[in-house]
């Protein structure tokens, strides 16, 4: 048992992942073949003993609703537990009023109605493992009003685009929250994860709404930081694997770096399962000429060609003589005989059969559209 209501939040309007985002919210992005991004925050909550979880949806909810379903696959008690899908008021992409505070306002009663005295808010566009029970204990013991989770990185100049950073004092008090402008390497990336009392959360929602209709939760929390603020806001450091799916390259890189098994073990631990929806596909079949190395391959594939440094989703066919290198391939994609595909993100159900060479430069991956024929 964990005395916190779980809230899985959506990405702010400043975050847009080229290509994939046209069809679904980041939460529903395929990740490492068999997962969706949203599996990570929900599994973290479920494994932490949180059995009341609200997932907020703000646009194009079809694939996310299909994936979450009844929520039973997340190992939440089917009688006492709940996985709620809650909708924002407008449900329109690129609508500046369609932000997190507007969605929480819309559903304020169901937040107030939950029995839990605490709330833990985690984003549906970041990938990490975190025991929220121990984070809640840290929060309670510290006596802080709000605890914010952050990850210290040394590559904030070229990665973590669109993320926020925390400026901390020596006692881990949060001085300010600001945008990552890429002007320093060493930064504390804010993981958009909050722990606070639920009544404070509700007060902040109302206060944000009163202040500005464009204010987000991070804006209102930011205004309470440092010397001008009236709340005690502290940072808690996260260790282990962390990825922010806040731009196209971030998505590609996170998938590719997890093809390394030792990197993956810092995210996946046997006592901390990441749940997802089963597809009942058969194991993957490698033919006489099929081969794969340095790759992560999902079930249901037929590999007759060569796969290297890639992530292959469920139900893909890689035909004879095809070479797939440095690609992130979503489900049910066909790579035709003799086709060479390199440095690509290939969206689901695409077919590459006619053009012999579809390749982008290393470090600059290209996107192939859903159901596209090349």
């Amino acid at each position: 048992m964990c005395d916190a209501l779980g809230i899985v939040s959506f990405a702010g309007n400043h975050i847009w992942v080229e290509g994939l985002h046209d069809y679904r919210p980041i939460a529903a992005f395929s990740f490492l073949g068999r997962y969706r991004i949203v599996d990570f925050p929900i599994s973290n909550m479920s494994n932490s003993g949180m059995d009341h979880i609200q997932v907020y949806l703000n646009a194009k909810p079809r694939s996310l609703i299909e994936h979450l379903g009844s929520g039973r696959h997340y190992n939440i008690n089917s009688k006492r537990g709940k996985l709620h899908m809650l909708f924002a008021g407008s449900m329109i992409d690129h609508d500046m009023y369609n932000n997190d505070i507007a969605a929480y306002m819309e559903n304020l009663e169901s937040i107030a109605h939950a029995n839990q005295p605490y709330v833990i808010i985690a984003p549906s566009y970041m990938v990490y493992k975190q025991d929220f029970r121990s984070l809640l204990n840290t929060h309670i013991e510290s006596g802080a009003d709000i605890t914010l989770l952050y990850h210290s990185v040394d590559n904030a100049k070229d990665a973590y685009v669109n993320c926020d950073i925390l400026n901390l004092n020596k006692q881990k008090g949060v001085l300010s929250i600001e945008k990552n402008r890429g002007n320093a390497k060493n930064r504390n990336i804010f993981m958009d994860t909050y722990v606070m009392r639920k009544d404070l959360f509700i007060d902040l929602i109302k206060q944000a709404k009163k202040t500005s209709s464009l204010y987000t939760l991070s804006d209102i929390v930011s205004s309470e930081c440092g010397e001008n603020g009236s709340l005690d806001i502290r940072g808690a450091s996260h260790r282990g694997y962390f990825a922010a799916i806040t731009d196209f390259k971030g998505y590609y890189n996170a998938n590719i770096e997890l093809t390394d098994y030792s990197t993956a073990t810092s995210l996946f631990e046997s006592n901390w399962p990441i749940y997802t929806r089963t597809n009942d596909s058969s194991p993957t079949h490698y033919s006489e000429d099929g081969s794969a190395k340095n790759s992560v391959i999902s079930n249901g594939c037929l590999i007759e060609g060569t796969v290297e440094n890639s992530v292959i989703g469920r139900g893909c066919t890689i035909k004879e003589g095809a070479v797939v290198k440095n690609c992130v391939i979503l489900s049910d994609v066909t790579i035709g005989a003799g086709i060479h595909a390199e440095n690509l993100v290939i969206d689901r159900n695409a077919k590459l059969t006619k053009v012999k060479e579809v390749a982008a430069d290393e470090g600059d991956p290209h996107y192939v559209k859903r159901y596209d024929m090349i």
């Binding site: 009942d280 194991p283 993957t284 190395k293 037929l302």
Partner: protein
């Protein structure tokens, strides 16, 4: 019971002693197959895909794992209202003592009350230890077209192997005129697959008579089918074409796994219209390391491979270390083959660890080697 008024009973009590250590702790239907499945997934998924809502599973030998496994009917979609998988081990009743199932027919007889509670028109009797895909709804349609009392699924086997099976001799209309159990000189090559559809009223009468017969073995093949024939009932054969395997031995279990390596194998587990459902595991997708060398293989999620895998089937969570070689072999769930070890023509049982540099199996062995105990590494 609304869909076709047919209830299925799966006979899953057998030990499968010729599978040696593999069935020390679990019954044969619970033995792993094909990377991610258990054998009993096949009849259960066939039932679900054929529109059968109620399935009884008759368990007896080492049934703890099997009972809990099949009781989760949701895995096969058998969890809607008026639907379900029921585990039926022998039980003590008000008017009878607790008794083991004395034979395949007795297992059904002891559950007449359960079957009656659904008042089905038809009873489908299946084996829990065969690997095949079959649409039982089509078989029922055949049963009704022929106006039969019983329909028995048969498969053509090579004539020289026919004496290993129960052989059905039929007339020109497909009616069964004679049944011979493992005949020395078979008259036909139609082998019984152990899949029966009975009109329940007829079978019920036969079973009650059989229970009282002290000389009976209480077996479908030996007693019930001959009794139906003697009673001049209409028994018809339903010819099945496709993949069907009774994996009785280590060799045949290995072979059935190897069959999956053929690109055009008849079983085709990737057919989206007839999926085989199984337990959902929370493992990672499969990981292939920098030194992975894969050729002709069937590999499932949770596997981590950094060695050579040729002509082999790897089950959930199997790990192959750097420089290890897996050739013509089957690694059951959780097997770990450490660096530099070599496995040839072997079937490695669940969770067995093969230490660094160890060698098991041999390329020219007559039989497949079963590795059921930890093999120490060679320094």
């Amino acid at each position: 019971m609304k869909q076709n008024n047919m209830l299925a009973m799966i006979l899953a009590g057998g030990r499968g002693s010729r599978l040696h250590e593999l069935t020390n702790k679990v019954a044969k239907p619970a033995v792993s197959y094909g990377g991610k499945y258990r054998i009993v997934d096949f009849p259960l998924s066939n039932c679900a895909n054929s529109g059968i809502d109620v399935v009884g599973v008759l368990t007896q030998y080492e049934s703890v794992l099997l009972n809990s496994y099949v009781a989760a009917g949701g895995r096969w979609g058998l969890d809607a209202r008026d639907s379900g998988v029921f585990v039926l081990p022998p039980r003590e009743k008000a008017d009878a003592n607790l008794d083991v199932y004395r034979g395949t027919a007795d297992a059904i007889s002891q559950n007449i009350d359960f079957i009656d509670s659904y008042s089905p028109d038809y009873l489908l009797v299946l084996s829990g230890d065969h690997i095949y895909k079959m649409n039982y709804a089509k078989m029922l349609a055949h049963h009704n077209e022929c106006n039969a009392d019983a329909t028995i699924a048969v498969i053509e086997v090579p004539k020289k192997e026919a004496s290993r099976f129960g052989i059905m001799n039929t007339d020109e209309n497909g009616c069964i005129v004679e049944f011979e159990e493992k005949p020395e000189h078979p008259k036909s090559n139609l082998a019984s697959m152990g899949i029966y559809i009975f009109s329940w009223k007829t079978l019920r009468k036969m079973l009650i008579a059989d229970m009282k017969n002290a000389d009976s073995n209480h077996d479908f093949g030996k007693d019930i089918i001959p009794a139906l024939l003697a009673d001049n009932r209409k028994l018809v054969a339903y010819k099945f074409k496709g993949y069907w395997k009774d994996v009785g031995t280590i060799d045949s279990l290995w072979e059935a796994n190897m069959d999956l390596l053929d690109s055009d194998n008849d079983l085709d587990l990737s057919d989206p219209t007839w999926k085989i459902y199984t337990e959902d595991t929370t493992t990672l997708p499969q990981y292939l390391g920098p030194d992975a060398d894969i050729k002709r293989a069937y590999i499932t999620q949770g596997c981590v491979v950094d060695g050579e895998v040729k002509n082999s089937v790897l089950f959930t969570g199997a790990k192959v270390g750097k420089g290890a070689k897996i050739i013509d072999s089957v690694l059951m769930p959780g097997v770990e083959v450490e660096e530099g070890a070599v496995v040839k023509r072997a079937l490695v049982a669940n969770d067995v660890r093969i230490g660094k540099g160890a060698k098991v199996g041999s390329a020219n062995s007559e039989h497949i080697e079963l590795v059921a105990k930890r093999v120490k590494g060679v320094e």
